[in-house]
């Protein structure tokens, strides 16, 4: 699965995006976030405030309990502030 990061999350992780191969049992966005947190302090700091994480699966807003089944791209970003 391809992961993309935006705004403060992108800067904290230091990547626009990356390829991540999650295990079969990573069924939801929350499971994927847990795998990212296990990568260490950079991810733990970037994703620390769970209440301020927002997600999209293949370009559609999604909540962290959403199943990732078949999705090609997971986006992780802070609450949007356009307009």
């Amino acid at each position: 699965m391809h992961i993309v990061y935006f705004a403060s999350i992108r800067e904290a992780i230091g990547l626009d995006g990356e390829q991540a191969d999650f295990p079969e049992n990573a069924a939801t966005i929350a499971n994927c976030v847990a795998h990212l947190l296990a990568r260490g302090s950079v991810y733990q700091a970037a994703l620390a405030d769970r209440s301020k994480l927002r997600f999209a699966l293949d370009g559609h807003m999604a909540t962290e309990d959403a199943p990732i089944s078949g999705a090609q791209e997971l986006a992780i970003f802070p609450p949007v502030t356009g307009g």
Binding site: H60, E73, P78, G83
Partner: protein
């Protein structure tokens, strides 16, 4: 008539909205969001930088416009959002709708900007006069404004 666009260059609100006057409706309503110097406590913002999620942005804006057309009898809609660095006093977003009567135009314009603020993948970063830059925090009042329109 629907125009939905992201614009990397300066945005001329009057020019963008002019097409709505030619649709035969009696009502044209619009909202223009402007980059302000006083979005923080220091009043020293020189520009707002807009980051977005290119693969998602236009589909999300299109979906908002389709939702507005489903709710109100609209003749046309213009929704143009800046990307990149926007100096203060320049437009960040222009939203306009045309309809036969004012209620549909006014309400749909409010709906579009309220929903855009919480549903479209844009992020603002303040550039301050000292050279520092800071991400703008989302406001809970924006969530409330978006929620009031229901499902």
């Amino acid at each position: 008539m629907i125009i939905v666009r992201v614009e990397p260059g300066p945005l001329d609100a009057a020019a963008e909205l002019s097409v709505l006057a030619e649709l035969g409706g009696g009502a044209l309503a619009s909202f223009t969001g402007i980059a302000r110097s006083d979005t923080n406590d220091h009043g020293n913002v020189t520009a707002i930088e807009l980051e977005h999620y290119p693969a998602m942005t236009l589909p999300a804006l299109d979906a908002l416009v389709q939702d507005a057309f489903a709710r109100w009898p609209l003749l046309g809609c213009v929704l143009v959002h800046r990307t990149g660095l926007v100096p203060v006093n320049q437009a960040i977003v222009v939203v306009g709708t045309a309809s036969l009567h004012r209620a549909a135009a006014l309400e749909s314009t409010a709906f579009l900007i309220d929903r855009l603020k919480t549903g479209a993948p844009f992020w603002k970063k303040e550039h301050r006069s000292g050279g520092s830059a800071h991400w703008v925090e989302a406001r809970s009042s924006d969530d409330a404004a978006a929620d009031k329109w229901g499902q």
